[in-house]
Amino acid sequence: MPATPVQGVAGIAPGGRRRKPMSGAWRKRAEIAFFVTPALALFLMFVIWPIITAVQMSLFKWTGIGPLVDFVGLKNYVTVLTDELFTDALRHNLIIVVGSILLQLPLGLGLALLLNRKLWGQSILRTIIFVPYVLAEVIAGVVWGALLVPQYGTIDALAAALHIPTPEQGFLGTPDLALWTVLFVLTWKYLGLAVILFLAGLQGIPDELYEAAALDGASWWQVQRRITFPLMGPTIRTWAFLSMIGSLQVFDMVWILTKGGPAGATTTMATYLIAQGTQASNFGIAGAASVILFVIALFFAVVYQQLVLKRDTQPDTPKRKRSQREKAK
């Protein structure tokens, strides 16, 4: 995010009051404190502090009652990392991270390219595509849960009418299929967001580039490869980042559709730690799982920032080449 420093008013504004050495500076500090403190206090108290507490909690054996006395060091971490249910959960999260990007990127980009032209009812189309994103995950989950009821649900009934065999336990009840079904529903819900963001990216590409390419006789595919995809880079990379962080903390949809079952087949890190905390009262275990989830999210973010987003600070895109060309004129 480029931050263009705004010229400070103090002492620079033409005709403005000159900065008084002490009182003015103190006044300014007081103003800054006044404006920033409420938000900062709220943020530190309800975001940062709980995360620190999670670290503390993870070092104790604690059932949520009384003081933290039973210090166990890193034992909870060992327990979590050797718990097959948790390592499975981590694997499921990674499948959702990769699966979401592999599914939504081509679909979203394709749809954005299709919709980025004069169409009758274009705005209605965009609205419709965006609807699932606005629904609560719980509501989407309940509706899909009803559709996916084994044998009697609409999906199975439609399949039966078309003589397509469906699993006896239903898509959500069959361990090998449950996670893929959850991934499908998540894709249904979040594809609209990808399309909307990609459309914004497409509309940010200057039309002159396409005109120039047309004059040069470029094919449709060449235009996409040489202009659209490179210039969409920053948008896609930011979207992928948001998608990744979201996928790592999937909870609502899984909790509603399967509660993490059948037999742990759809457990995610978030459902694991909630189950440990609320159902088993193993707050130490839940704390350790929280910290591990946090470290993984941070690791992803930092690595992604270093490897992928860094390029956006010095984009070597046609845009830049163009500006150099223009400078050369």
Binding site: T4, P14, R17, P38, L115, S123, L135, A136, D207, L273
Partner: protein, 293 residues
């Protein structure tokens, strides 16, 4: 209501020489694909809404059928259900408090971050940006303990609204800061010449001008709160449930009453959908603005 980008101003499409672009898929194919997408997207939602007008017998008989007989009983049953209205009231109250906190604190924090020069400004901004990385699930168990045992705010509206607002602040600051930066510097200089203090500038000029930005972050905060599940699930008792909790409970308690579940779910959907349609441009602009950074 085509969603224009923030940069607005598009060159007329007709300027593009189109003969070269005949390689593009034809309009007929585009419409076909669009129709398929619409069917897949809206299908489940419409199915739920229509399912509310059907009888359970009919749904069991032909799951994919239309409402025949067309009955209003399910919807009337939900509308006469005092629980439903209580859930809706709780959802509204919590969402309004959350939104107010986010907008007021967010615009206050964004002002110095956007228009003051001071040491540590970028560092302070980064504190909020880092908040974007924190999965809410990480903090959820400690939050539960903090709110219920330390503040004794479990089972209250404010007890949910405070942490929700805190988690919405990073997005808010990230969206509002560039917005406030983009207001012309001359405004500030002119108001200075007229002898207005920086606080006066904030009240008289900046706030009125930042209406659109505040509406955007307000809408995002409201929708986020309205749809929230995990935090209310842990913090709210049975009598203070929000709509998502109500929907989840109703669907598991009345799993045999499919039509009733559909009616309950559809009615719970309506406020968010209406709100979204009314504020669509704002939501989209806000999200696009966030991605553009």
């Amino acid at each position: 209501m085509a969603t224009q980008t923030l940069s607005g101003h598009r060159v007329e499409q007709s300027l593009r020489p189109s003969r070269r672009f005949d390689l593009r898929p034809s309009t007929a194919i585009v419409y076909f694909v669009a129709l398929v997408v619409v069917a897949l997207t809206l299908g489940p939602v419409l199915y739920g809404v229509l399912g509310g007008f059907r009888t359970n017998a009919a749904i069991a008989e032909s799951p994919a059928g239309m409402p025949d007989p067309f009955v209003l009983d399910n919807y009337l049953g939900v509308l006469q259900n005092p629980d439903f209205w209580r859930y809706a009231l709780n959802s509204s109250g919590i969402a309004l408090i959350t939104t107010a906190l986010v907008v007021v604190f967010g615009v206050m924090a964004a002002y110095p971050l956007a228009r003051y020069e001071f040491k540590g400004r970028e560092g302070l901004f980064m504190v909020f940006v880092v908040g974007l990385l924190f999965p809410a699930a990480v903090a959820i168990i400690p939050l539960f303990i903090l709110i219920t045992q330390n503040f004794h705010l479990g089972n209250t509206w404010i007890g949910i609204a405070l942490p929700q607002a805190a988690f919405a602040l990073p997005t808010t600051v990230v969206i509002l800061r560039p917005f406030l930066m983009s207001l012309p510097k001359e405004l500030e200089e002119a108001s200075q010449l007229d002898g207005t203090s920086r606080i006066g500038f904030f009240w008289r000029i900046l706030l009125p001008l930042s209406g659109p930005g505040m509406v955007t972050v307000g809408v995002l905060a409201f929708v986020g709160s309205w749809n929230a599940y995990l935090l209310p699930l842990l913090l709210l008792g049975p009598e203070n449930k929000t709509l998502p909790l109500g929907v989840a409970d109703f669907s598991s308690e009345h799993s045999a009453d499919t039509a009733g579940v559909f009616a309950f779910t559809s009615l719970a959907m309506i406020p968010a959908l209406v709100f979204f349609l009314a504020m669509q441009k704002r939501i989209v602009n806000g999200l696009q603005g966030a991605v553009k950074g």
